[in-house]
């Protein structure tokens, strides 16, 4: 979005009455269930979580056992997805790889949710100097390619899963902050906030007790879109060589390891599996997010 354009005022459909909230929620769930694509995505994601949990305790083979089978072994009955360049079982590694993707996606979404919402709500509620300062910071962050910032931060912090999450969070918090700010700007003008203020409520209570619950719908929808962005950015980072330390399997790193095997059409599978897993997962998150938005936040257009 052009950085200094007037904020698109996003009106939230949610009202103040509890009964209205409940019916909206019920409507939303009904709409979501009617969206077959989103439903399929949700089922896939549940399966993925299951695989992830299972891989914590069990995989067909040890994922890091080098020389488990012949190197570059093609898919077979014993190794359904074949083996990689070091003779490790690809299926086991693919399963374990889901851990990194899910961890990065969910953790980043939580961090962004926390930071973006707090920063955005404060900016939108207090306006003035605070808002000016925060908006400037947002604009500056928008002025640099996020991936480059993530790389620089990651290199500074050192290789670990947590540092990947921090580096990515630092580059995707702006959208959430802007959304929260827009919400706060519009909600703070409503009568019930005015009432709370004249009733002597403190700022913190107004922001987190009154504004936040009313802005929650679009914020949660936005948070679901942070997950695929985080997974994608993490995959980019590992693909470029700034990833989780080996031999931990992760899809981006597996794909990058598989790239040389593609040369001369030698063994495409090493790259294909993680690439497919990554793509399908990202698709599922996007479909699910789309469905969620359509169901709970029908007025917000992407």
């Amino acid at each position: 979005m052009a950085t200094l354009l007037p904020e698109p005022t996003v009106e939230y459909a949610g009202g103040t009455l509890a009964s209205e909230q409940v019916s909206l929620w019920r409507d939303g769930v009904r709409r979501l269930r009617r969206n077959k694509l989103a439903l399929a995505a949700a089922i896939y994601l549940m399966l993925l979580v299951l695989v992830c949990v299972v891989s914590l305790f069990w995989t067909p083979y040890k994922p890091n056992l080098v020389g488990n089978c012949p190197t570059y072994d093609l898919p077979s009955a014993a190794h359904p997805l074949g083996c990689d360049d070091l003779g490790r079982d690809s299926l086991s590694r693919l399963m374990v790889g889901s851990q990194v993707s899910l961890a990065v996606g969910l953790a980043t979404a939580f961090i962004v949710l926390a930071i973006g919402v707090v920063v955005g709500l404060i900016a939108g509620y207090f306006r003035g100097v605070v808002d000016g300062f925060i908006s400037l910071a947002i604009n500056i962050f928008y002025g640099v390619p996020p991936l480059l910032v993530a790389v620089a931060l990651y290199v500074l912090l050192g290789p670990s899963l947590i540092n990947i999450i921090i580096a990515i969070s630092a580059t995707v918090w702006m959208d959430m902050a802007r959304l929260a700010r827009g919400q706060a700007l519009s909600i703070r003008e409503r009568e019930f906030i005015e009432a709370a203020r004249s009733g002597g409520a403190r700022a913190g209570r107004i922001v987190f007790g009154h504004i936040l619950p009313n802005a929650l719908g679009p914020i949660i929808v936005q948070a679901t879109f942070v997950i695929p962005v985080a997974i994608l950015t993490a995959a980019f980072l590992t693909f470029l060589g700034f990833g989780v330390p080996p031999p931990t399997a992760d899809w981006g790193g597996m794909a990058s390891e598989g790239l040389p095997s593609l040369q001369g059409g030698f063994d495409p599978y090493i790259l294909l599996w993680p690439a497919m897993a990554l793509s399908v997962t990202l698709l599922a998150f996007n479909f699910f997010g789309d469905g969620l938005r359509d169901a709970f936040d029908p007025r917000q257009k992407r």
Binding site: T71, D85, P159, G241, P245, P247, P260, Q263, G264, F266
Partner: protein
């Protein structure tokens, strides 16, 4: 093997042509092979690393010197079989030819009289003095090759007090300009006292102490022993090495070799052209060498380009480990190109260093106690080195290191299977572990540090898997995407186990034992494992002063000291892979460097 038949064919065709001695033919003299020459004598190849500098006084990487060995000359050079032969000098000095005095301290070198720089200036003994004095004053990585010459320390002191410059950007110019100014003014403080020129064609070198390895070190091509032109450098002391030589003008990257730099675009391309009427022999047949500087990711496209004839070869310029296994298999699987794959052992060994000398930062391996030694032995024996060569290198990119640290084929190699640490014995490894760490407490939090990239990542995964399987010990992998930080950590002992390795500079055991664990290394803070043994140091000092024949048993003794102390785990010797079209005659490589371009010609095809 392929390489041998290749050379044999060259000799044979020369013999058939007749009238030319076999010796000349072996040097690939152009006159012997003119019959089948292609009309266009342009050699084209890609490189995947860009040179940091071509300045022989500053160069510190193989990629620099493999190119510049064709532009600069030393007093002597290594021929294709790594034997020392005269280059700018008339002979290789020995006691017998009176080149070396009986006490071994004075070298008298007579220079060839017809030598010209490729800007046309005559090369005299003064140029040798200038080049060596300059190299010592610059204090680059390889200035220590000249360290045995009397006055070395004094000169470095004189040049090395860094002038405190106020602006950061000006530092380079100030430092180097200062050296050039002092050299131009013949400042006695900037002259090695042991280096003199009795006449225009004679150089006398006086050493501070006897030195058995110096002659080979001075002959390292494209490095501190190379002769450069003061006039060219004075025009642009900082960037002269990246400027092309324009015929009729004095400046640019001027040397005395058979080729000169004709065009240079950083990170894009280099063009070298043959010097017409070059003074030396064999005269270059190639008229031009075109080098494309590519990203390593482009190599599979380059192989296709090579197959189509757009490149003549791949792997030159220190890039012989860039062909990946899938690409090598692709070439091998192609009937036309299979025979054009050249595989040569490379003079590079990779091993694992235990931290034996830094109690504060090291782990359970520190010290000379039986327990520490036993644990080191357990971890060494638990690694299947042959399996490593098969799994990680697919028996293509490396071979198991079984004959000691010095790579097979070099002076000082111990012999196949001679290194007891290269054995694989999981049972004994396990019993050693049980004996010295029955509770598993000592080996609970081990780390293996390495710099990420290339074979290092798969090797680390392999080692971890081996220790897990054969010892039941989990070792955490600690990669650095940052090689410099990794090396700094290793040099200061901040590690438990670390990847280590060496690629030889010149074919002499001193290059290994001194730079890695010796007194020179300790002085520079380079001793990788903190291994410090008084016997080792005294034997090394003794060996370094002897001629190689008498020194060799002493160097072998040093290798045994390291083995008895289980200071390392030998991992693998690197193997170089080149793709060279069969019409490129005289191209190839020994374990140190590519063959010189002036031995190469392009046959009609």
């Amino acid at each position: 093997m392929k390489h041998l038949t290749f050379r044999f064919r060259a000799v044979q065709s020369a013999a058939i042509l007749g009238g030319i001695s076999l010796l000349v033919a072996a040097c690939g003299n152009s006159t012997s092979t003119t019959s089948g020459l292609a009309a266009k004598q342009v050699l084209k190849f890609p490189v995947y690393q860009t040179a940091g500098t071509f300045d022989p006084g500053q160069a510190d990487a193989e990629v620099d010197t493999e190119i510049t060995q064709n532009v600069f000359s030393n007093l002597w050079r290594f021929d294709d079989n790594l034997n020392l032969v005269p280059d700018l000098a008339t002979t290789v000095p020995t006691l017998a030819n009176n080149g070396i005095s009986s006490d071994g301290l004075t070298f008298t070198v007579h220079l060839k009289q017809n030598v010209k720089f490729n800007n046309g200036d005559a090369m005299t003994s003064k140029d040798v003095l200038y080049s060596w004095n300059r190299a010592v004053a610059l204090q680059g990585a390889y200035s220590s090759n000249l360290s045995a010459i009397a006055g070395y320390d004094a000169l470095q002191k004189a040049a090395g007090a860094p002038p405190s410059s106020s602006s950061g950007a000006g530092g380079t110019t100030t430092f180097r300009q200062n050296i050039e100014n002092k050299l131009a003014a013949n400042d006695p403080a900037f002259q090695l006292s042991g280096l003199t020129a009795p006449d225009a064609n004679t150089v006398q070198i006086k050493l501070a102490h006897a030195c058995g390895w110096c002659l080979t070190a001075w002959s390292l091509q494209g490095s501190t022993g190379s002769v450069v032109d003061q006039k060219a450098i004075s025009i642009d002391p900082v960037n002269w090495w990246s400027k092309p030589v324009v015929q009729g003008q004095p400046g640019g990257m001027v040397g005395t070799g058979p080729f000169y730099l004709s065009a240079y675009t950083a990170k894009q391309s280099m063009v070298f052209k043959a010097v017409s009427n070059w003074w030396g022999s064999p005269k270059p047949t190639l008229t031009e060498v075109d080098i494309a500087i590519h990203d390593p990711a482009a190599i599979s496209g380059d192989v296709t380009a090579w197959e189509q004839g757009n490149f003549d070869l791949i792997g030159y310029g220190g890039n012989s480990s860039n062909l990946t296994y899938p690409l090598i298999q692709g070439i091998k699987g192609n009937a036309t190109y299979a025979s054009q794959l050249l595989t040569k052992p490379k003079g590079r060994t990779t091993w694992l260093s235990f931290n034996v000398g830094y109690p504060a930062t090291g782990g359970p391996f520190v010290g000379t106690s039986a327990a520490a030694k036993g644990l080191r032995m357990a971890f060494a024996l638990a690694v299947d080195k042959a399996g490593l060569a098969t799994t990680v290198c697919h028996d293509v990119q490396c071979t198991a290191a079984t004959g000691g640290l010095i790579t097979k084929g070099l002076v000082g190699y111990l012999g196949d299977g001679a290194d007891p640490l290269a054995k694989f014995d999981a049972t004994q490894a396990m019993s050693l572990l049980k004996q010295y760490d029955p509770t598993g407490k000592l080996t609970a939090n081990l780390k293996y540090s390495f710099n990420a990239g290339g074979l290092n990542d798969p090797v680390a995964a392999y080692l971890q898997s081996q220790w897990q399987t054969n010892l039941g010990v989990h070792v955490t992998l600690d990669p650095s995407s940052d090689a410099s930080q990794f090396i700094s950590n290793r040099l200061t002992g901040k590690y438990v186990m670390a990847r280590d390795g060496w690629q030889f500079d010149y074919n002499h055991p001193q290059d290994w034992f001194d730079n890695l664990w010796g007194y020179l290394a300790t002085a520079a803070g380079a001793n990788t494992s903190g291994f410090d043994d008084p016997t080792y140091d005294s034997v090394l000092k003794q060996a370094d002063q002897m001629p190689i024949d008498t020194a060799l048993p002493l160097y072998k003794q040093l290798a045994q000291i390291l083995q008895q102390n289980v200071a390392y785990i030998p991992l693998y010797y690197s193997v170089a892979n080149f793709a060279i079209h069969s019409y490129v005659k005289g191209a190839g490589s020994n374990s140190q460097a590519d063959y010189y371009w002036n031995e190469t010609s392009i046959q009609s095809h």
